[in-house]
Symmetry: C2
Subunit: 673 residues, 2 copies
């Protein structure tokens, strides 16, 4: 690949060598000054509280000196930072930042808007909701307010909080019909022709009520409220009666009852399960704990040999839940697992849901696309169409696997998605996002019970956009920086989230990944007398893991030990300056128990390891291991394919890896264990 | 007060007129360049991927032009922002930002550290934990790792998340003894001489186990683990056995069981209550919902006439809970309520806890000091001592009320505290903090069950600091910006959190508040023929609310209407440019039901309103109101007392208010309703 292919990205970043530092500096200064003049021109008739002479005072200068010293200390401490910007950093999920994003963020910080509400952020709350729409469009959700469903999205401090929000939203909707039925019973009110069967509300069993879809729940709510309020039209105490009814409904929700009381009261119901692939990020378990569901309620779904969720196992798990009348809160699919970059078959989850819908069983689908979400921009055409597999395949040697393509396409049919602008969006931390396909869910999570009052007088019913002016009512967090919203907003405006905009950056990243894949395989061939290098799963996204085993070694323990030694060459190490390192990577493990036996055996056999040394509990530390150690690289840096003297950074890395392996091999041979 | 009293703050901020813009600009440039050179010097032998000639290409310049245009659009949109920097803004909890903080934050953003773990933030994770210690010391928690308890703290995206963490931490500890007892039963293992009564574990009832203090729970855990593991010392399968035991304990915790299963299994137990003052921030209710406790489990504690929590009502509520064997997860005390700035009697909560401890009943105490936390710096001497009431009173006319002083002093005896650097810390959003008095709680919330393994071989037992290198394991959030930590760290180093450092800024703010208080009272006297202006509660912190009623009006509805009209003069209004406004305020309400009748009557009588027009449900809209509308001001801007032609900003505000009231009064008189 020639340098020409990198040209389009030249102005996108500050650069590995800070090549665009002058552009950055000039724009930053321009907007800092613009801010300063804004302050000056707010009430220019006032005298400045800090006199011009202050800067000649000793105390003033003493403070400045102390401040400058502390800032210098910080600046020097920051030199220990991970060099995310460099193509020599191919470790965790971070790289250089988009210039428009970082400039917008820095500029906005000076104004310090608080996106908790429109009051505190007249300029940036709208930009946050607009980012929500941009992300929604990228993944294929409709944002047309005149059709159903209409999506909305907002920024979170990170993907972890977005994942929690998914669970919170699903719970609020899932148990709502039961609360509604309970309140109606208390009011001796039995709505007619409601729900999917169009019967009286009292005719539904609790188990049936637990399997209403999100749409059915919204319609049920609206219809019940209509039937309750219409006869009150001319009554004087109408408002009071409606309020009492609203309060009664709210009182019966899980959110008001709490999980303990709710499930004691409805003792015939089983607490809900959440299906999460084994490869799920640990925030799912943390979330299940913190939200009071319980970690034990997570059903771990096995992976196939490519670290993708196994649909057959998901189906088994669903079957078991539904047979036991155990509600399934949600199935979580992962679009780019944290450890392996693998893509779950989202399309299969969607398909299976359709199947169960026909049997009147429902579960939510959330896609944890913290890593892979932005890759949807590769597939999305500027007109909104999803690119056919054939068309996109032409751009790559291997990508995308057909299942991967189908998975990305199917995201538009799920309920909500986590996407991290601070990962593949090349934006600063802390910036995650939660995108929901259906803004009508907002009614169920509002802190002020809204279901009835909103419907009371249809002319005053607020649109989602109006509601979201009080964003803090609908999200987990409260006060929050508007600067992250400005960063994402400007970045996405300048580099739009489709295949001709941001998709090009990620196309390039995938091409780097394919080159890396081929290069590792070539290296393996070249070094076969010394070691076996295996890529256990072909990469679904721009993240690759590989294992290294010295030839003739059959012990997993020794292999892991050897791999750790090799990894030490590319590890962040506080003791030596960054400059002494050539490359930085990361590592991960395949843990016994998270990997099915067949797959473990396949991978170990490829490596020449005796599969019996892969055990759940290690007894013999010299032979056995309870995990397979892998070296892990994200290939997201924009300059990996930049050539210098006929060599790009991946070529340089391969040379470096060759030397690291040889050195460790010779050490190991010299001092055999 | 002469301008001299403001001098010390001259170099702290950018300034209302951006007076320190050159200082800001020069330092910013210095550190931006330092960052650029760092990039350049990482591997200077490499050729820059972006060629020097790129800037002459058309496509490069087209992108730059588009980027500059979008950034210019943003910059112009930001001109709609709330002018937090100005002494004319006395609305919500925001003002100008500390120069060292904002510079540190901007600088650090370029390095983009991720404080989820030390790996991703070698430079800033330590700074975050250091900020935790600084805050802990300010509020009086010990951070000596060699004594018990040793505090720790970390930053959150805001106070809301810190409040959630308090509930999460308390739950994990409170129900642990039951999980432990359950696991021991399964293992036919009955530890001896454990717990406060030094008896067999099986001799404690579940209700007793639910009332172990945090310390007792930690000791219990350590002792049970010791008794279980010691006899295994020489067994070959020791590790395996310990792991099984650990897993069994974990399996029985609320976090693993979930609230539903846990309380079904332990059907004799009541779900826990949380005591929160009526004035509590809405994040407490949101938290109770999201964490699965249920909003109904919150017991609202009434306020006294100063909007401080009533200890007698808290005692009643506790009495009722304990009499019914209902566990109390925590009592929340508020140090500076969001709406009124009032300070709850934290010392009474601490006292009442001591009383109940003697009867072997326990509850956690969390202080929501999102607003008032930093005011502790007023009281804290550089040597760590808490300033006597007499000494601090000398600096003020009214502050601090004796109860307020006692409340601040008692914070050191509570379990955890929420503090928002992005409020009275004068730092950018998003920056909240959670500070816990006892780092041993970390063992209960770790995502990897740690209780047993940590004790296994005491020589490898990790210190809290070592554990916290994997910060993401112990906090709600995951990936998160290190820049906020750098900002707080540098700001607090340069302006230390004691009475001779940051305390001076807040002393000044309190003096402004007292001046404002007197000025409003004088204005009330001056305008008594036109209106009554009442400050319903003397301010406990630097936040004041007042009500206005036209003389002779007896209807609450009319008073609220009139007040809204007056407030319109100081409201952010998208339709007219900021410059057309002289001052900005905020408003709040005293809601019927949240205020006891006696207090409502007192306030309304002072205003000349007929108390019978204050009703829970409005029937007659022309007379009645279900709330008392108040205008609300935070007095945190540093330049409020800056004098110009003998007039400071509070004087200017009073003139402005006089005119606004007169105008609305005359309009009202001209067109009587």
């Amino acid at each position: 690949m020639s340098d020409n292919n990198l040209q389009f990205m030249h102005p996108y970043f500050m650069g590995a060598y800070a090549e665009n530092d002058h552009i950055f500096e000039n724009l930053l200064l321009e907007f800092v000054r613009d801010h300063a003049y804004w302050r000056r021109n707010f009430h220019p008739e006032n005298r400045p509280p800090i006199p011009r002479t202050a800067r000649f005072r000793e105390d003033f200068n003493e403070f400045l000196a102390a401040m400058q010293q502390e800032l210098s200390n910080l600046s020097s401490d920051l030199k220990k930072s991970v060099p995310f910007f460099s193509p020599r950093y191919i470790g965790h999920m971070a790289a250089d930042l988009l210039l428009p994003g970082v400039l917008a963020q820095l500029m906005t910080t000076l104004y310090n808007p608080n996106n908790v509400s429109d009051d505190a952020a007249p300029a940036t709350l709208g930009k946050e909701l607009e980012v929500g729409e941009m992300l929604a469009r990228m993944i294929g959700f409709s944002v047309d307010p005149h059709s159903y469903p209409c999506a909305w999205g907002h920024l979170t401090s990170g993907g972890t909080v977005a994942n929690y929000e998914a669970l919170w939203n699903f719970r609020a909707v899932k148990f709502f019909p039961i609360a509604l039925a309970e309140a109606c019973k208390q009011f001796n009110f039995d709505p007619v022709d409601v729900g999917p069967m169009e019967v009286k509300l009292s005719e539904y069993s609790k188990w049936e009520l637990l399997n209403f879809s999100i749409r059915e729940t919204t319609l049920l709510m609206n219809e019940v409220v209509r039937q309750y309020t219409e006869p009150l039209a001319d009554q004087k105490d109408r408002k009071f009666k409606i309020q009492k009814f609203t309060e009664a409904i709210a009182h019966e929700t899980t959110e008001h009852q709490g999980m303990a009381h709710f499930f004691r009261k409805h003792s015939e119901l089983n607490p809900p399960k959440i299906l999460v692939p084994v490869t799920g990020h640990y925030s799912w378990q943390k979330g299940a704990k913190i939200l009071g569901f319980g970690k034990n309620q997570i059903v771990s779904i096995h992976n196939d040999g490519s670290m993708r969720m196994r649909p057959d196992h998901m189906e088994e798990a669903l079957e078991e839940c539904f047979n036991n009348e155990t509600p399934v809160l949600a199935v979580i699919g992962i679009l780019g697992t944290t450890e392996f970059g693998s893509v779950d078959p989202i399309h299969k989850i969607v398909e299976v849901r359709k199947k169960w819908r026909k049997k009147n069983r429902f579960f939510g689908i959330h896609v944890d696309a913290a890593w892979g979400g932005y890759m949807t921009s590769l597939f999305r055409k500027p007109d909104g169409d999803f690119m056919p597999h054939e068309e996109i395949s032409k751009k790559f040697k291997y990508f995308p696997h057909e299942g991967t393509w189908k998975a990305f396409k199917a995201v538009s049919q799920t309920d909500s998605v986590t996407i991290d602008p601070h990962k593949l969006g090349y934006l600063p931390f802390s910036c995650g996002a939660f995108v929901s396909r259906d803004a009508s869910v907002l009614d169920f999570i509002c802190q002020k019970a809204a279901y009835v009052f909103d419907v009371k007088e249809s002319k005053v019913k607020k649109t989602p956009k109006q509601k979201l002016l009080s964003l803090g009512q609908y999200i987990m967090e409260g006060s929050k920086a508007g600067s992250a919203a400005a960063a994402a907003n400007v970045a996405h405006k300048v580099i739009p989230l489709h295949c001709e905009g941001f998709g090009r950056v990620l196309t390039h990243s995938m091409l780097s990944c394919e080159y890396f894949f081929d290069s590792i395989n070539k290296l393996s061939e070249r070094m076969k007398d010394m070691v076996t290098i295996t890529i256990p799963f072909p990469p679904d996204t721009n993240l690759i893991c590989y294992a290294i085993n010295p030839t003739r070694n059959k012990s997993l323990a020794l292999m892991n030990h050897f791999s750790r030694k090799v990894f030490a060459h590319m590890k962040i190490d506080r003791k030596s300056p960054l400059q002494t390192h050539d490359f930085f990577g990361s590592f991960t493990s395949l843990v016994n128990g998270n990997l099915d036996e067949e797959q473990g055996t396949r991978i170990l056999t490829e490596l020449g390891i005796d599969p019996t040394t892969f055990v759940p509990h290690v007894s013999d530390r010299t032979r056995e291991g309870d995990h397979i150690y892998l070296i892990r690289h994200t290939l997201m840096n924009p300059w990996l394919m930049f050539e210098e003297d006929g060599e790009n950074y991946i070529d340089k890395y391969i040379k470096f890896l060759f030397e690291a392996i040889r050195k460790e091999y010779e050490t190991a041979i010299g001092r055999p264990k």
